[in-house]
């Protein structure tokens, strides 16, 4: 059983608790173990990087150093946390002076950063480390007929120029196919949800959310799957405000990919945190999960 240092991030403690629950349930079922990083601190979100970059790198480096101590790779379920941890590691790799300076600060907490732990996003672990075949093999309730719009968002893809799949990724679609659901093709799958603009520029963010939701609904998606708590909150919890602002009538559930994977693995909805949404999920998934379980593939 492969073990990872799990960095839940602040959102997963409450706002995105269902992501936390479903991440733990599904990884356990797939034979990997997420052990929560002891005494982790906030990654700095985008706000810290707006004020002081050095301090922001230090916050991330503390988490990385703690994962190193446990000799494990660090896994973040939030795209924002992932990006911050990933790029802190990249910067420190190329800037020995910066690393030295940060290590002096980390010594106050008896930590040292060396760069030995890799930074992974949770969906990467599913796609690359577990793999589609292993996931397929464990599916007991394929989500037949469920039209899912995979929403990548930004920071699991960009700005990693070296990666060839920045513009045309397929891994989220493939993951949805692996659990027996039907991935929906729609134009804005890689567009931004507005991120923190939902607070700092509400109108701009609401209009971005509206475009995204309408695009997914036009492609007849029954549900949207995300891999980031901020994306989920913007797309789901602000739907009512979008409707109010633009006179639309949107009502599309938005879940975490781990929740859908969990359903396909036969885990009861409640243990995946389903029920804490503002846009009800059950009407969209009922038919798919209440179908007869498959005995053997033909």
């Amino acid at each position: 059983m492969k073990k990872y240092a799990y960095f839940p991030g602040c959102s997963l403690e409450k706002m995105a608790h269902s992501y936390h629950m479903s991440a733990l349930e599904t990884t356990r079922a797939l034979g990997i173990e997420l052990e929560e990083l002891e005494d982790w601190n906030c990654c700095g979100a985008t706000a810290y990087f707006h004020v002081d970059e050095l301090l922001a790198f230090t916050l991330c480096a503390r988490n990385l150093a703690m994962a190193e101590k446990e000799k494990r790779d660090i896994v973040a379920p939030c795209s924002g946390c992932y990006k911050n941890l990933f790029f802190t590691r990249e910067h420190l790799k190329h800037d020995a002076d910066l690393a030295e300076h940060i290590n002096e600060a980390l010594a106050e907490d008896n930590l040292h950063y060396a760069g030995t732990s890799a930074v992974r996003h949770l969906i990467e672990v599913f796609v690359q480390d577990v793999g589609f075949d292993a996931i397929k093999a464990k599916v007991t309730k394929p989500l037949k007929g469920l039209r899912v719009a995979p929403y990548y968002g930004c920071q699991i893809l960009r700005p990693r120029k070296a990666k060839e799949d920045v513009e045309q990724p397929r891994f989220f679609e493939d993951l949805i196919s692996a659990i027996g659901a039907e991935p929906v093709d729609y134009r804005l799958r890689l567009s931004c949800c507005g991120g923190a603009l939902i607070i700092t520029n509400r109108r701009a963010a609401l209009s971005m959310v509206r475009n995204l939701l309408e695009c997914a609904v036009r492609s007849k998606a029954a549900i949207i799957a995300t891999a980031c708590p901020l994306c989920q909150v913007n797309l789901e919890c602000y739907q009512k405000q979008v409707n109010h602002e633009f006179g639309t009538d949107l009502n599309v559930p938005v879940v975490y990919f781990t929740q859908l994977v969990g359903l396909a693995l036969g885990i009861p909805p409640k243990r995946l945190g389903i029920g804490s949404e503002l846009v009800a999920v059950m009407p969209a998934i009922r038919e798919a999960i209440e179908a007869e379980p498959v005995v053997a593939s033909t």
């Binding site: 601190n41 707006h50 600060a105 971005m208 949404e277």
Partner: protein, 202 residues
């Protein structure tokens, strides 16, 4: 796209002759960026076209125009612009720039530059929000949403405020809002670590 804003800046002051030019200052901001310098920009406008906020008409100056203004030394217009505070960090511009300029990083650099100098446009939520966030993390090591709400709620009109309160209440009922702030265990070490970087005390 935004024709009134496109012409408004040309009438004001010519580039100042400081000890260090504005272009140099901005260049220094990006010393650690792995992208190319903004002097290599060909003003193609890919950044503006690809930016979901600029193409929605929400920015007073598009990213392309910000680069042009910096290169022409229009410091005041740049610093008072809302462009970088309305950047959502989606990195689409950075990935698509044909000259390999890290435009999103430039936006981060400009945010920090105006926070340090408190020279940003008035009435923006972004700077206050970011500063409140930083102070919160320095105190507890973790984020706590209700503290942040105070930075923007009072800038809203009544209808928006009511809508926001409604969303918050529903989230609370669903158990999705924290009632108490979380804090890390080794907080004293953490604070000493921070003081190593920013020698300010609390």
């Amino acid at each position: 796209m935004n024709t009134t804003a496109e012409t408004s800046a040309t009438a004001t002051t010519a580039p100042p002759e400081d000890r260090i030019s504005f272009v140099e200052e901005i260049k220094n901001l990006l010393y650690a960026s792995e992208g190319n310098p903004i002097s290599t920009c060909i003003q193609c406008g890919t950044c503006s076209a690809t930016c979901p906020v600029a193409s929605g008409g929400f920015m007073d100056n598009s990213p392309r125009r910000i680069i042009a203004l910096i290169r022409s030394g229009f410091k005041e217009q740049v610093l008072k612009s809302n462009t970088f505070w309305y950047c959502a960090s989606c990195y689409q511009c950075t990935v698509r720039c044909p000259r390999g300029i890290d435009i999103a990083e430039l936006m981060y650099g400009l945010k920090r530059f105006t926070v340090w100098r408190t020279e940003h446009q008035e009435g923006l939520i972004g700077p206050t929000f970011s500063e409140t966030f930083v102070k919160m993390i320095m105190r507890t090591g973790r984020s706590y949403e209700p503290v942040l709400a105070t930075t923007y709620l009072f800038t809203y009109g009544l209808p928006e405020m009511l809508l926001e309160a409604q969303t918050a209440t529903t989230l609370m009922l669903k158990g999705r809002l924290p009632l108490l702030p979380a804090r890390i265990k080794r907080l004293e070490n953490f604070k000493r670590m921070i003081r190593h970087i920013v020698p300010l005390g609390d």
